[in-house]
Symmetry: C2
Subunit: 313 residues, 2 copies
């Protein structure tokens, strides 16, 4: 089983109350791929510039990630500069240098075409829709988006949503997308847009999944029942929140893919927990530092912490 | 087993996006007592004016609540006017008419002195401390407070905290009390103030308990282990958030008291769920309307919803 992820591979310069880092390896596809790599084979589609070194690519390769879909072009890689010194809940973007990412045209290697799972990280919904069409045989598609696309590209986004098995967004994005301040009503409206299930991320409070009545391929009807909420781990220090959401998506989708596509309610719930687990690791160090060097033992020990945190027995 | 609660018995005039209500029965002690009454005997200490009718008192009596500690004096009852039209997460106070509550001097009826449990609702910490001293033989004391006391009456509050088994406050209050923006560090600091356990309420995201190393009377050491988080129920309509926190406290403490003071980790966790359950009912209608007319069957059915919402199996 393998997951294709399309999204940004970038450098991030980040300041937080814990310190700062310059040109750290980042980007949604990078965070997603590293987190998912502990569960299943991951294949990346992205674009980088000449500043992206073999050492950068080795970070992914060492985790067994297939990087043959990362296109190298003339110019500089996407570079994001942000600060969390005002609040850790939201980044203040200081600079967005799109560079080679501005003209990104995803190209799917022939060797990727047999993948069963597809993750559409936060990019232009027109590109998401195109990749989705070209990967028409996948069993399951998850996607992310952000305020920018919701606000100014809603028509293009609607074409992506109609075909998604799982949309992963945060509270504010869900309420903006549905134009409703109540989360349950917002979720209902988003499910009516065609999304089969909606995971709403609550940051330090965890994440909630809402299911539509439309079952997934291979899933039994009871998949589409009552909502389920996974906690987040209370942490005494959040060093760098960047990539937490993409790491959540990687843990979630990676675990689901590792179950041979058995989209049972029990597996979906466990996948939500693994999402929280990978998100909790991601924020403990700057950039991808923590997620690069985990063991499956670390991950399963933290999974048990999540269980103890939330279970009566 | 019985709980004595000392706090406000009041009238609330409330506006929310769902409508408005004028002079509805409210107050922290009222919400707490009604919620806890489904689990154990509750005895109220408060003060009301001439506008507090026999019909008002019957709301409590019908639920078996002992109202002999509600003092009737000349003047008007405490009247709070608030609006949630800006956001349901926080009330905008439009008017606080303390009236007879301004000179409230709690008097503990002799018949209350054998109670094993004490809840100090949100009142002047000097009064909380006095009641605590006079009820020195209780097995367990829970308390609430608010920004006003944290900010301007910290010395008096400190004397209450040093002796509390459980403090129930919300995120903002915890961070203000500890002067730390990180919840885990804030919790550690509050536990160092003497509080044996701290329940931080997250509104629609549930509540988390943090334990100190100091065990409760009768509790085994493992009570004081890792944190535990109870979810809140995602609701499509929150009609009136007033009293949700006091209803949480009532469900939590009422359930614990009903277990004959067996403060086991398992009972503490279940009590947190019952807190969430009672909070979720409270917000479904204005004032105390919903909490007046529940059955234990309603409550236990919702408890199972909370379990399904949060449990892997």
């Amino acid at each position: 089983m393998s997951i294709v992820v399309v999204g940004s591979v970038a450098f991030d310069s980040i300041e937080t109350p814990s310190g700062r880092v310059d040109h750290a390896l980042g980007g949604a596809a990078t965070h997603f791929a590293l987190a998912a790599s502990y569960f299943t084979q991951v294949r990346v589609i992205g674009v980088v510039g000449e500043d992206f070194t073999a050492a950068n690519e080795d970070v992914l390769k060492k985790r067994g990630v297939d990087t043959s879909g990362i296109e190298h072009v003339a110019g500089k890689s996407f570079h994001w500069t942000g600060s969390y010194t005002r609040t850790l809940n939201e980044a203040d973007t200081l600079a967005t240098e799109l560079n080679v990412f501005e003209t990104f045209t995803p190209k799917i290697p022939a060797s990727y075409r047999d993948s069963e799972f597809l993750f559409l990280a936060n990019i232009d919904p027109k590109l998401q829709a195109r990749v989705r069409r070209e990967m028409s045989k996948v069993k399951m598609v998850c996607g992310d988006t952000m305020n920018y696309w919701i606000k100014d590209h809603s028509a293009a986004l609607a074409e992506v949503l109609v075909d998604l098995d799982v949309l992963l967004i945060n509270d504010g994005e869900a309420k903006m997308l549905a134009e409703d301040a109540n989360l349950v009503r917002a979720a209902q409206k988003i499910l009516e847009m065609g999304v089969k299930s909606l995971i709403v991320k609550h940051g330090e409070y965890g994440a909630t999944v809402f299911f539509s009545g439309r079952s997934f391929p291979g899933a039994k009807p009871e998949t589409c029942a009552t909502p389920f909420r996974a906690p987040a781990l209370p942490l005494a220090e959040v060093v760098d929140p960047t990539g937490a959401g993409d790491s959540f998506a990687g843990g979630f989708f990676g675990y689901l893919a590792s179950q041979n596509g058995a989209l049972t309610p029990a597996n979906f719930r466990k996948a939500m927990f693994y999402g929280g687990v990978m998100g909790s690791f991601a924020v403990e160090k700057f950039g991808t530092e923590r997620t690069q060097k985990l063991t499956r033992g670390d991950i399963d020990a933290r999974f048990e912490q999540f269980r103890a945190l939330s279970h009566l027995d």
